[in-house]
Amino acid sequence: MATLRIIFKHHKLEILMVLPLILFVLGFTLVPVLQCIIFSFQDQITGEFPTLGNYREIVGSRKFGEALKNTLLVTLIGLGLEMSVGMMVALLLTTKHKFRGIFRAITMIPMGVPTVVSGVIMLYIFSTNGYLNEFLYRIGLIQLPIDWANGGFRTLFMVAVADMWKVTPLVIVLLLSGLESIPTTVYEASAIDGASRRQNFFYITLPLIKPFFTIALILRAIDAFRIFELPMVLAGRNTMFLGTYAYSEYFDYNNIHTSGAASTILMVVIAIFVFGYIGMVGSREVEQ
C-alpha cells in the first residue's frame, strides 16, 4: 500500500496522462462487451439471469446455423485467396524490375477505398446485368447471366472476392515488411551453397517471414469473422453472416438478447481461432 502511495506521489503527471485512455477503454469497450454478454444470458421477458434460453432459441433456428456456416466458409475462402495472392504479389514486389514502383503504388489503391464503396463497386460487377457476367459472356463461357446473389456458394464466393479486393493490400504490406527484413547476405550464402529458387523459397524465405505471416493471418481472420459491411451491401438479407444476423435480430426484431447471444458466439469463435492458432503454430513468434 505504501509503495503504491509513493508511486502515486511521484508519477502524478503520468497517471493524469494515462487516465483518460484507460477510463475510455474501460467505460466504452469493456463495459459494453460485458453488457452484451449479460444481455445474452438474460430472459427475454422476465429479465431473469442467467438463462440459456436465448442460446437455445438461436442455435435451434435455421437462419443462425446458416449464418454460422457462411461466416466460417467465407473466412476460409477469403483467407485462402488473400494470403496466397498477397504472398505472390509481395514476392514479385521484392524482385527488381522496371515497373516495381508503379506496381507497388497501384496495389495500395484499394486500401484508400472505403469498404462501403468497395461493396458498391462489387455490386455492379456481380449483378445479373453486371460486368462479370458480361465479360464471361463475351469470352464465350456462359450464355445466360449468372445470379451471383441468390445464395449458396456463389454468394459466398462473391463476398470473399469483394473482401479480397479491399484487404489484400494490407496483407501485402505486412508480408512485404517481412520479406524486406530478410538480409540479402542470407541469399548470398545460399547461392554459394547452390540452392535453387524453390529451395530458397521453402527453406529460407518462408521460415524467416513466419512471424509476419502469422500476424497477417490473425489480423485478417479476426476481420473476416466480423465481416459486416460487405454482406450488408452485397448479399442483402438473403445470405446472413454472424455480424449481419446480430444486426438483424436487433433492428428487425428489436431483440437485444438474441442479438447479444449471436455477438457472444462470434466473440467465442474469434477467441477460439486466435488462441488456437497461437497455441498450435506461433506462440514463439508472437512472443518475439
Binding site: M17, V18, I106, W165, L174, M232
Partner: protein, 291 residues
C-alpha cells in the same frame, strides 16, 4: 574425339537455350500475373466512375459496354442539385474532425507514458489495449446503442464521435507509442539537467519532435471515422453520415445515385491517402511489428 567434342558443344548450347527459354517463360508469366493483378485492382474503380458518368441506356441493359459510350455529368449534377448530400457530408466531416482531434488528445499523452514504461510491462499494456479491437463491433455497438438511446445520444454528433473513438483509440495508442519510442530518452534527461521540470521537458522537447507522428496518426483517425459504417448504422436513425447515405441508395436499388455518392465518398479519401502514402507504407506497420 572430334565428334564427341562437337556433341558436347551442341549439348551445352542446348542447355543454355532451354535455360534461356525457361527464363523467358518465367518472365512472361510474371508479367502476365502483374498485368492481371493491376487489372483486378483498377478495373472495378474505373467501372464505378464510368457508371457515375454514363447515360442510363449504357448501364441498364442486358449487355453493358465496358467503355463509356454516352458521357454525361447528369447524375453528379442531380445529386448535388437535390441537396440530400449536404447534411451527411457536413455530419461526416464534423464527426471525423472531432474524432481526429480527440483521438490525438486522449491517445498521445497515454502513449507517451506507455512508451516510457519498462519493456515487459509496456508490451502487455499495448497488447491489452490493442486486443480490444478483436471484439466484434456488433457486440459493442448493441449495448452502446441501447445506452445511447437512454442518454439521448442517438442521432447526435457527440454520440457518433464517442462510438468512433472506441475504434480509433487503440490504433492511435499503438501508432503513437511507436512514435514516442523513436524519441531518445536522453533528450528529455538533458532538458531536465538544464533545469526544466517534467512538464516543460514534455512541451518543449518531446512535443515538437512528435508532431509529424501525431499529424500522421490523426489523419489516419480521420480516415477511419470517415469510412466507418458499423457504429454509424447502429447510431444514425434520421441523420446519417455519408457511408450510411450511400448504403441507403444501394438499398433503394438506385445505381446512378449510389455510384455518384460512392465517388463523392471516395474522393477525399483518395486525396488524403495519396498525400500520406509515405506514412501509410510499411514503416509504421513494421515499426509496430518489431515488438
Amino acid at each position: 574425339m572430334n565428334t564427341s567434342e562437337q556433341r558436347g558443344l551442341v549439348m551445352a548450347e542446348h542447355k543454355i537455350s532451354t535455360k534461356l527459354l525457361r527464363h523467358r517463360l518465367n518472365q512472361g508469366l510474371r508479367f502476365l500475373f502483374i498485368a492481371l493483378t493491376i487489372a483486378f485492382i483498377l478495373v472495378p474503380i474505373l467501372l464505378l466512375f464510368k457508371i457515375s458518368v454514363s447515360a442510363p441506356q449504357d448501364i441498364l441493359t442486358q449487355h453493358p459496354p465496358f467503355l463509356i459510350k454516352n458521357f454525361t455529368w447528369n447524375h453528379w449534377k442531380k445529386v448535388l442539385a437535390a441537396g440530400h448530400i449536404w447534411v451527411p457530408l457536413w455530419k461526416s466531416t464534423v464527426v471525423a474532425t472531432f474524432v481526429a482531434v480527440l483521438g490525438v488528445l486522449i491517445a498521445a499523452p497515454a502513449a507517451y507514458v506507455i512508451s516510457r514504461l519498462p519493456r515487459n510491462i509496456k508490451y502487455g499494456v499495448l497488447l491489452a489495449i490493442f486486443s480490444t479491437r478483436m471484439f466484434p463491433e456488433v457486440g459493442i455497438a448493441l449495448p452502446i446503442s441501447v445506452t445511447f438511446v437512454r442518454w439521448g445520444l442517438v442521432d447526435t454528433n457527440l454520440g457518433l464521435v464517442l462510438a468512433h473513438l472506441i475504434k480509433v483509440l487503440p490504433l492511435m495508442a499503438w501508432i503513437m507509442t511507436g512514435t514516442f519510442d523513436s524519441i531518445p530518452k536522453d533528450l528529455e534527461q538533458a532538458a531536465l539537467v538544464d533545469g526544466c521540470d517534467k512538464g516543460q521537458a514534455l512541451l518543449k522537447v518531446v512535443l515538437p519532435l512528435s508532431m509529424a507522428g501525431m499529424a500522421a496518426g490523426s489523419i489516419l483517425c480521420w480516415l477511419e471515422s470517415w469510412n466507418e459504417f458499423t457504429y454509424a448504422v447502429y447510431l444514425c436513425l434520421a441523420e446519417s453520415t455519408l457511408p450510411i447515405k450511400t448504403y441507403y441508395y444501394v438499398r433503394r436499388g438506385n445505381w446512378f445515385e449510389s455510384a455518384a455518392y460512392a465517388v463523392f465518398l471516395t474522393i477525399p479519401v483518395m486525396i488524403v491517402t495519396f498525400v500520406l502514402q509515405n506514412y501509410l507504407k510499411s514503416d509504421y506497420l513494421s515499426g509496430a511489428l518489431k515488438y
